[in-house]
Every structure is written in structure tokens, then in C-alpha cells.
């Protein structure tokens, strides 16, 4: 078998398969346009900075220069005192020191599943790998405690192999991949502690 044969066969296979199912894409552009109607792309970090420093285009460059100079002065002066002002802190301490958001630490995940034999937690914090829950006192409530850095985390429980993504303790529930996932905001205002 020659490489060219194989490459040709691969191309033909992928294209043939896509062509077989192309009818699924019928009208996708219209459906997406309608779904997004009235929604704008999320503002980017650059937009926020621009809005802060330059309400008009004419003054933008001058204001950026002033901002850069001010930042440089702060960095130089701050650098002199850095060892005293900012000892090595973990994320929780850093957030607490900054006074932003609510305090946080261990996050508890609970799920009632009295008849289950295995319950695991999967989520964006563990790369969607299984973290087992335990029901040590056999009261039917499975539990695990995790220490998470500040952020937004999607997750779900898997109870005896069944996806269960609507945790009542979640900050919100989102629909993705045809199922539900729960969301917790750790260390952010309005989120979980």
C-alpha cells in the first residue's frame, strides 16, 4: 500500500461521511442568526481598557501615554517595597487581602443518592475526570470537599453512570451538549464560599 493511496482513501472517507450527513446542516445559519438575535459578542478586555482610558479616539494616545507613565512610576516605587508589602500568599489569602469577592476555602459538593453504589463528580476543575464522593455514615448523602481557586466551574455528578447536572446548590445551571451542567462561582461576588 502506498502513502498516496492511503491519503486518497482517507480524504474520500471523510468527505463521503460528511456528505452523507450534510442534510443535518440545512438552515443552520438561519437558526443560529435567530438564536443570536439581539445579542452582542461579549466585551473583551481590550474594550474595557479602551473605555476606561479613552472615551474619544482623539485623546486616546495621549491618555495611554499618561497611563503608561503612571503605571511605570507605581511599578518602580512598588518594587522597592514589594518584599514587605506582598509576601507569598495563596489564592485565598490574596483574594481576602484584596477585599474582592467573598471569602472562600473548601467547597462542599453533596448529592442525595440513597440507593447508589458509586457517585463521582466531574467538572472543569478536574478536567472532567472522576472525583469520587463518599457516603461514610451511610445516610444516603454522598459528599466530597474540594479546595478550588477562584473562578467559574461547570460540573455534574455521575450517579451509577447516570449524568446528573442539576445540583440545587449550584449558582446556575447551563445546558450544554444536550444535557445540563451545574455552575459554581468560587471566590467571586455572589458566588459560593
Amino acid at each position: 500500500m502506498y502513502n498516496d493511496d492511503l491519503e486518497h482513501q482517507l480524504k474520500e472517507t471523510f468527505e463521503h461521511e460528511a456528505a452523507l450527513h450534510r442534510d443535518r446542516l440545512e438552515g443552520l445559519e438561519s437558526r443560529i442568526s435567530e438564536e443570536l438575535e439581539g445579542r452582542l459578542p461579549k466585551p473583551g478586555f481590550g474594550d474595557l481598557i479602551r473605555d476606561l482610558v479613552a472615551p474619544s479616539k482623539a485623546g486616546r494616545m495621549g491618555q495611554l501615554v499618561v497611563l503608561a507613565a503612571t503605571a511605570a512610576v507605581f511599578l518602580i516605587v512598588g518594587g522597592l517595597f514589594l518584599p514587605e508589602l506582598s509576601p507569598q500568599l495563596n489564592p485565598a489569602e490574596r483574594l481576602a487581602e484584596a477585599g474582592g469577592g467573598v471569602a472562600f476555602g473548601t467547597t462542599v459538593f453533596l448529592v442525595p443518592a440513597p440507593n447508589a453504589s458509586e457517585v463521582v463528580l466531574v467538572g472543569s476543575f478536574n478536567n472532567w475526570e472522576a472525583t469520587p464522593l463518599a457516603d461514610e455514615d451511610l445516610d444516603g448523602i454522598w459528599r466530597v470537599e474540594l479546595t478550588l481557586d477562584p473562578g467559574r466551574y461547570e460540573y455534574a455528578f455521575v450517579v451509577d453512570g447516570q449524568w446528573w447536572g442539576q445540583d440545587p446548590a449550584a449558582d446556575e445551571t447551563v445546558r450544554s451538549y444536550g444535557g445540563y451542567s451545574s455552575v459554581r462561582y468560587i471566590g467571586l461576588a455572589g458566588g459560593d464560599a
Binding site: 493511496d5 471523510f14 456528505a19 449524568w163 444536550g178
Partner: protein, 186 residues
């Protein structure tokens, strides 16, 4: 209305909330994104879902996209990441692979022979690790350069070349073992 617009104009209009302009972007790229997802996952329903989700996410995060970069690379990266997440999700939702479908054609015997042959290539592909299958799809379906594949999969270009090389060797072994070599040579 937007059919004659160039890509950059469409993206600029989309940034202003012109969802019809975004619809034109979807129309231009949906086949490529769908084919990528189907090649990665070999599941038409999943591929359809992810194609939809990829365009929604891309629109939501359009301000992160840099106009001097190729849009195709960006949307393929989003789709590729969603496919990877779907596979993780699938570990807990085993799916039954769809049956091989046979398309109609002018000569049923010829069509049938081709469908069988391609189905066998597909089965061999399914035996490849995901790591090796993905660069093959991007290279031979999406026809991307090695550096673009490297950017999408977030690995060095040398790794892409190595994976494609090894994938081909493995495919040949699988097909020879399963007695499919004759089909491929024909």
C-alpha cells in the same frame, strides 16, 4: 444581503451585532466544521450539536479573535476543543455507533462496493487513538498545513508530523491485519 461581503467585513458587522452577517459566516464554514467534528467523533448527532455550539461560542467570544489571523484556524480550534470535551462527557454516556449508511447512486453495485470499502477504512480509523485520528482529519479533510494543525491542537509542529506519520503506519497495520489492503490498493 451579506452574500457578497468579504470575510473581514462580515466579522466586523458581526461584532456590531449583525447576526445575519454571522449567519453568512456560518454558511461559509459549517461544512468544514461539521466534517471536522464528524471525523473526530464519528457520530453525526454529536457533530451537529458541536457545530452549532462552536458557532455560538465563536460569536460570543468574537472580540477575542484577531482579525489578522485566519478565521478558519480559530473556529476549528473552538470546534476541536468542544469535541475533546464531548469525548470526556461521553465516558459517562456511552453511545452506540451509528450504523454504516449506504448512499444511493447511479450504479448500485459500484456505489455499494465503494460504501463497503470506505466503511472499512472508517472502521480502521475508529481503532486509532483519538490523538492520531484528529490530525488526520485536519490534514486530509480540512486540508490544513502542519503549522495550522499544530495551532489548533496546541502541540508543536514536529509533534503533528510525528502523529500523522505514526497514524498512517498504524492504519496500514490495522488494514493489513483485517485484510483490507486489497481494497485500498484498488
Amino acid at each position: 444581503m451579506y452574500r457578497l461581503f468579504d470575510e473581514v467585513s462580515l466579522l466586523r458587522a458581526s461584532l456590531q451585532g449583525e447576526t445575519e452577517a454571522w449567519g453568512e459566516i456560518v454558511a461559509r464554514y459549517k461544512d468544514a466544521v461539521f466534517g471536522l467534528c464528524l471525523g473526530f467523533l464519528h457520530n453525526p448527532a454529536d457533530a451537529e450539536d458541536i457545530t452549532h455550539d462552536a458557532f455560538i461560542r465563536a460569536y460570543e467570544n468574537l472580540r477575542r479573535y484577531k482579525l489578522d489571523k485566519k478565521f478558519s484556524t480559530w473556529i476549528f480550534t473552538i470546534a476541536s476543543n468542544l469535541c475533546r470535551n464531548r469525548l470526556r462527557h461521553r465516558r459517562y454516556h456511552p453511545v452506540i455507533p451509528p450504523p454504516d449508511e449506504i448512499a444511493g447512486g447511479s450504479d448500485p453495485a459500484v456505489e455499494y462496493a465503494r460504501d463497503v470499502r470506505l466503511g472499512q477504512v472508517r472502521k480502521a480509523l475508529d481503532q486509532l487513538p483519538y490523538l492520531y485520528r484528529t490530525p488526520l482529519v485536519l490534514r486530509f479533510y480540512n486540508e490544513l498545513a502542519y503549522n495550522e494543525i499544530a495551532e489548533i491542537l496546541a502541540v508543536p509542529e514536529g509533534t503533528v508530523k510525528t502523529r500523522i506519520h505514526r497514524a498512517k503506519i498504524q492504519l496500514k497495520r490495522i488494514m493489513e491485519k483485517d485484510g483490507l489492503t486489497d481494497h485500498v490498493q484498488r
